[in-house]
Symmetry: C2
Subunit: 226 residues, 2 copies
């Protein structure tokens, strides 16, 4: 019988779908969002909307300013690439990669999980449309699962942590199809890396292009774009 | 030839010694300290003194409030145990254990290392006097090293991360002996989990007892206690 789960929730399409999948499996869901100095901070409001709509037990927004380290287009003064082909997006690890971000986020989820307690951690990474981020691959999820069970009191004494990455083998269209089946309102989500000050998506970054193409492939209107 | 290294620096005795060892090996040292809501926040000032005395290239203090998660005597309203025997200290994982703390701290060090770049991370954990913390054991260090090299762009593309835990097999007396050989001024460091508002050590928590016993065993006066 499922117990508590901690779900990393960014406010984007993938993490909203992941949360819906965890809820469908019967987990009591605790959503964790990180305000890390991302230029698309508007996604934090999306995370709040999604958490409320999907009825989480609790939603924590943790402050951790990664701008001190720099090194990414999402947190530093590096331009977000625009209007790239899918081939160009996947050719190399893009500048929107945030160093060790998913390692940090899963470490925070693990800390919260240990105190709740929860032994199930959900993260919405996917290896198909992942644009080459190293911390979105199955090898990363497996390595973190091993670490979680040697790093913690709960891992050693009380049980086994499981890291769930239910989207890892899905394409963006498959993810949206899953979410629509579960009733996810994608109008609440935000995907753009470089929104204007009012929060409007740029429609030109990798994330916007991937999202638009997936909705087009499904023959469905993106409710966040109407 | 050693390059850059990121050293986790708490302001305590162990991390000061670790920093001195990294410097002795010729690394250009970048010290990372986390303000995580610890009740002994006075250690942050100790970290600044130690970083300055040992001549680091840069010292970053990152804010990350772990009090939201609770679960530890160091961050929540749980009493710090006092006047315990060494047997009692090591019998079980104590309430001063902070859930997933070293996982989070190493993840932050990894993020910074990737942007510098630095491929050597130093952490002052030790498995002998570690009071039963799961994230101070060799199995943890090994698991994190594996994770670092699958989780990051730099791990995959550019080289190999190495996690150094040079104190892991040393007792507290051996650590202090190493530090004295290297000229570490332990008068700059802070170890107490539960200092009074002026920063004065309680002399009764596990950390104070372990420190006092180690200096006594060496027949040396603790310069922080004169």
């Amino acid at each position: 019988m499922p117990g508590n789960a901690v779900i990393l929730l960014s406010g984007g399409l993938d993490s909203a779908t992941t949360l819906a999948l965890a809820a469908e499996q019967g987990f009591a869901c605790y959503a964790l969002t990180v305000r890390y100095g991302q230029r698309h901070a508007v996604e934090l409001q999306a995370a709040e909307r999604v958490a409320a709509a999907l009825g989480v037990r609790r939603h924590e927004i943790v402050d951790l300013d990664l701008r001190a380290f720099g090194g990414s287009a999402l947190t530093a003064e590096i331009d977000v690439p625009k209007d790239r082909t899918v081939a160009a997006m996947t050719e190399e690890i893009p500048v929107t990669y945030v160093p060790a971000r998913n390692t940090i986020f899963l470490a925070l989820a693990l800390a919260w999980a240990e105190t709740l307690p929860a032994y199930d951690l959900f993260v919405g990474v996917n290896a198909v449309d992942y644009s080459g981020y190293p911390d979105c691959r199955p090898a990363f999820i497996e390595a973190f699962g091993h670490l979680a069970n040697v790093a913690t009191k709960a891992g050693i004494e009380d049980g086994r942590f499981r890291i769930h990455a239910p989207l890892i083998d899905l394409s963006k269209t498959e993810i949206i199809r899953e979410g629509l089946r579960l009733g996810v309102d994608y109008g609440l989500t935000h995907s753009c890396y470089d929104p204007d000050p009012s929060g409007r998506p740029c429609e030109r970054c990798d994330s916007c292009h991937i999202r638009a193409e997936a909705f087009a492939a499904l023959g469905t209107v993106d409710p966040a774009r109407v």
